[in-house]
């Protein structure tokens, strides 16, 4: 028994089909609990007022936005090294979720920044990095859709993903150097004591879990769609032959 056996498309379809219903239910539970708790139960922050409620979507979506790209990077490496088709297709599916999450993080950030900083947009390092990440997502998705041959597309997007990751890190550093910003530090960190208070913390954890699950569910469904498309393509190619 090896983990790699699930890289077989058929096995992947079977397994993901079994897991998906339970996973979807869990996603809904987590999201509803977290958002209800956060929106209706928690008090306003003494400094930020009711805008603190935005944290329940802003932070999880930003988290997913970055980690989706990270997952795509890992998937790209797996595809290039081990040539498992599911890996490349999962990266494609994840990019669709990632780009929307990036957009959500940007939009909620703008809504939050307007009352807090007095501006919808600032060329703050974090905001700028996310904007650049958004552009990377767009380029990646555009490259996928521009190439007809699926294996060529997988190869090229994988290389782009790896090169893009290096440049994304470089951009992050460059942007930091370019402008010291308004944005506060990371909301959640393991090594610091002064995290946000527990009142906001627990519903936020639920929301993060919900977003992570949502990302998983959507990526799985998307990967299933890609596998089916590839299978249909392979069958048509065989019929024609």
């Amino acid at each position: 028994m090896s983990l790699w056996q699930y890289a077989n498309p058929v096995k992947f379809l079977n397994l993901s089909g079994k897991v998906l219903p339970a996973l979807s239910v869990l996603t809904v539970i987590c999201l509803v609990t977290g958002l209800y708790w956060g929106y209706f139960v928690t008090p306003d922050d003494y400094k930020q007022g009711s805008t603190v409620k935005i944290i329940y979507i802003h932070v999880p979506s930003a988290l997913i936005a970055i980690n989706a790209w990270f997952m795509m990077l890992v998937a790209a490496l797996i595809w290039l090294i081990r040539r498992h088709h599911v890996s490349a297709l999962a990266a494609k599916a994840a990019s669709h979720v990632g780009v929307v999450m990036t957009l959500i993080a940007l939009i909620t950030g703008a809504f939050w920044g307007q009352p807090m900083w007095g501006t919808w947009w600032a060329w703050d390092p974090r905001l700028t990095s996310f904007l650049i990440l958004f552009l990377f997502y767009l380029g990646y998705i555009a490259l996928w859709s521009a190439i007809e041959d699926p294996d060529t597309a997988a190869d090229l997007t994988s290389v782009l993903c790896i090169v893009g990751s290096v440049f994304a890190v470089l951009s992050r550093y460059a942007v930091n150097f370019w402008n010291q910003g308004l944005h506060q530090g990371a909301t959640l960190s393991l090594d610091k004591e002064e995290n946000i208070s527990d009142v906001f913390y627990f519903p936020l954890l639920f929301c993060i879990a919900g977003f992570v699950l949502l990302f998983l569910v959507l990526t799985l469904v998307g990967t299933r769609a890609e596998i089916r498309n590839r299978r249909a393509r392979a069958l048509v190619a065989r019929e024609r032959g």
Binding site: N8, A234, R238, G241
Partner: protein, 206 residues
């Protein structure tokens, strides 16, 4: 210098076109590929030249000894005939472009830019390129397209001289070049992929 191909499959896009292709070509021999359009002659030649992936099977030859001439001649329209040919000579590390020019009557056109050549003249220049590469195994895809009878004769002479010097040529052509016993003819129809099996990368999805 022999070229041995055994059990070779080649694919275009996501379809295997030919499978189980096998032949042996000794030094000083030419192989003429026959078969209807769309069978996979171009794909086979590109695979032999190392431009495309070998699906399965073995090709005994290193890509460093082959040279490929396809439908496009790779002629730059703003460079003269001399410059075009000299470039390839330099790239392949040879010097003398005189014999190649003489073999195809290109001496008079030597300072004419590539863009002012007719289709047949371009093709002659493209074939002359083969001579300056100094490589021994030629992969030629429809080399006689747009050549007149006189130029075809020149081409046949060039091929005869090349294989006379111990070189090899694999070409897809329908014209009889009068190579006699030095040329084998291989009908590729017999290798048409019977089970229209998809390319190996599609197999995972079936």
């Amino acid at each position: 210098m022999t070229l041995t191909v055994s059990n070779l499959s080649v694919a275009r896009g996501s379809r295997i076109l030919l499978e189980g292709v096998h032949f042996t070509l000794a030094a000083g021999q030419a192989l003429i590929l026959r078969g209807p359009n769309g069978l996979g002659k171009t794909t086979l030649l590109r695979t032999l030249a190392g431009l495309q992936k070998i699906e399965t099977g073995q090709v005994s030859v290193a890509p460093e000894t082959t040279v490929y001439a396809g439908h496009a001649d790779g002629i730059k329209s703003t460079l003269t005939v001399r410059e075009n040919l000299q470039f390839w000579a330099k790239v392949f590390g040879t010097r003398d472009i005189g014999p190649a020019l003489a073999a195809f009557d290109l001496m008079d056109l030597i300072d004419r830019p590539g863009g002012m050549l007719s289709a047949g003249q371009k093709r002659r220049l493209g074939l002359a390129r083969l001579m300056v590469t100094g490589r021994s195994i030629w992969m030629l895809d429809e080399p006689t397209v747009s050549l007149d009878t006189h130029a075809v004769d020149q081409f046949a002479t060039m091929i005869r001289r090349h294989i006379g010097q111990g070189g090899c040529a694999v070409m897809a052509t329908h014209i009889d070049l009068g190579l006699g016993a030095d040329a084998q003819v291989l009908d590729l129809s017999q290798f048409r992929a019977t089970d229209p099996a998809p390319q190996s990368s599609d197999e995972a999805f079936l």
